[in-house]
């Protein structure tokens, strides 16, 4: 969002710095509403197909790597925690803690992408990548492929969002290192924190949609 990097005076269209900060936050919330619609539309396709291909979706979902998916939820939830603590550190003027927490958040983001990549490799090895090496296993029928298409598109779009978030966090870390933020001015961090936690929320919903559809105990 557009927020001044240098001066502590509000931009001309705002009366006070506080109004500017709140407006920036509101802008991010509006953006989050659009993101909800974006991912919501994707999950709509899932919802309809799961409704009509109930059994095929359950079968296909049983072949996803639930352990890796759950580890990724844990990683992102933790990164959400470190992100909000980073914002608090900025608010309280603890510059060093701010920098460390931001870097930890970015590192967790990288971990997420790493685990996701490893999971993709596993998926490739078990021949479940549509249009690359998809194999109809026993019990699989064409709708099972629909599930896997959804899986790759949804996790792919989410990974793009995570990557953008990591980039933004690294930029903010650089600014934090140069001492840009102070208890009077940390609005960009707060806005970024909203985005990061929202990306985390998306993964929580995708996890629920993809992994635990009912699988036999092995």
């Amino acid at each position: 969002m557009a927020s001044p990097m240098r001066s502590l005076a509000p931009e001309p269209q705002f009366a006070t710095l506080e109004q500017q900060t709140e407006t920036a936050q509101l802008g991010m919330w509006v953006f989050i509403a659009t993101e909800v619609m974006f991912f919501g539309a994707l999950i709509f396709t899932y919802y309809i197909y799961r409704l009509i291909y109930w059994e095929q979706f359950r079968l296909a979902a049983a072949d996803t790597k639930i352990l890796l998916g759950a580890i990724n939820v844990a990683i992102l939830l933790t990164s959400s925690l470190t992100m909000v603590l980073a914002v608090n550190a900025a608010k309280e003027g603890r510059q060093r803690a701010l920098l460390v927490l931001l870097l930890v958040t970015a590192a967790l983001g990288f971990c997420f992408l790493g685990v996701k990549g490893y999971e993709y490799v596993q998926d490739y090895n078990s021949s479940t990548v549509p249009s690359v090496n998809f194999l109809f296993k026993s019990g699989y029928h064409s709708p099972a492929e629909l599930f896997w298409i959804f899986y790759f598109i949804a996790t792919g779009f989410h990974a793009v969002h995570v990557t953008i978030g990591i980039g933004a966090i690294l930029v903010m870390s650089w600014h934090a290192r140069r001492g840009r933020f102070s208890p009077n001015y940390y609005s960009p961090l707060e806005v970024l924190g909203l985005y990061w936690s929202f990306v985390d929320t998306v993964w929580v919903f995708l996890f629920a949609a993809i992994y635990p559809l009912g699988r036999a105990i092995t």
Binding site: Y53, E55, Q56, G139, H141, S142, P143
Partner: protein
């Protein structure tokens, strides 16, 4: 309405009904349009800038006026809705026992029609007058749309699904058949003729086509060559449901739900097999025939299974 230079011919029972509601709305629209334009002109002249008309006592409380035209239009709209919805349900709910069933397969860019007797035609459909006709429609590639302006009916034709449409031609003659859903380069040439003949002419036409096997008989042949009869046949030892009398019946599925065995159900059973549709009380051994049977042959199989029910009705 045929005397109007811009009125399409109406040649079916559906056309007359739809014309009626359209003319009703047209008249209503004209009244509203005259009212709005009339008011605009009257006010425009009377209250033009230089006129000396009285402008005191401007309406301050506007809400009762607004309430009037809100409730007024709502009432009119609801009436139109009920009239329309009622007719639509009649229009799009095909009769259970039509006089004639025609099987139509659309592909880029032609219409293929098959008569129950096995007669086939391309871009032309011969029909007898005054008989209730039901169409079973599907597409081999993209979405098409079966539209006969003279009958005022259309329905999209989707790949991978069966759609139905019905009407009763009331006039003999040649009527245009058009594809109404954009389907590619030659979309404008995906047209044909509906030839409505007197019942005697239609019977004569059918007999001149040199066809020896009815659609159901051709389907029976396929039934054997695809190996369906191995399990579903009368002498089979495999525990598979008998298909006699299946069409039109209610089927109980493994998951406790029920469904009617219509054309769509038969199609899905053949293509998806037991993994998808699991009939209660039978082992899940039905294989999937997806990718092995073309739409034409599928229609024949469906026609055969339908005929098994008709025979049963004929000899109870």
């Amino acid at each position: 309405m045929q005397w109007l230079p811009f009125w399409p011919p109406d040649a079916s029972n559906t056309a007359a009904s739809i014309d009626k509601i359209f003319i009703g709305e047209l008249s209503l629209s004209l009244v509203i349009l005259c009212f709005v334009f009339g008011m605009m002109i009257v006010f425009g002249v009377r209250y033009r800038r230089n006129s000396a008309a009285d402008r005191s006592n401007l309406v301050k409380k506007t809400w009762h006026w607004e309430l009037t035209w809100t409730t007024g239009s709502l009432a009119v709209f609801l009436a139109l809705f009920v009239w329309g919805a009622n007719m639509y349900l009649w229009l799009y709910e095909p009769p259970r026992h039509p006089d004639l069933e025609i099987y139509v397969v659309a592909k880029q860019w032609m219409w293929k029609a098959e008569h129950p007797g096995g007669q086939r035609e391309i871009n032309e459909v011969h029909l007898p007058v005054d008989k209730v006709v039901r169409l079973l429609l599907t597409s081999e590639d993209v979405i098409h749309d079966f539209f006969v302006p003279a009958f005022r009916v259309k329905h999209d034709v989707l790949p991978g699904q069966y759609q139905t449409l019905w009407f009763k031609p009331t006039e003999t003659g040649r009527f245009r058949l058009e594809c109404a859903q954009y389907c590619g380069t030659q979309h404008a040439h995906m047209i044909g003729d509906i030839v409505v003949q007197s019942q005697a002419d239609y019977a004569r036409w059918l007999s001149q086509q040199g066809v020896h096997k009815s659609l159901a008989q051709q389907g029976e042949q396929l039934f054997r060559s695809f190996g369906c009869s191995g399990c579903h046949g009368a002498n089979s030892t495999v525990h598979a449901p008998s298909l006699t009398g299946l069409y039109g019946r209610v089927v109980h599925l493994q998951d406790g739900t029920t469904t009617t065995a219509d054309e769509r159900y038969l199609r899905d059973c053949i293509l998806l097999g037991a993994s998808h549709i699991q009939v209660a009380g039978y082992p899940p051994i039905m294989p999937s025939f997806a990718g092995q049977i073309g739409e034409d042959d599928l229609m024949k199989l469906v026609a055969y299974i339908q005929s098994l029910s008709r025979q049963q009705q004929a000899s109870p």
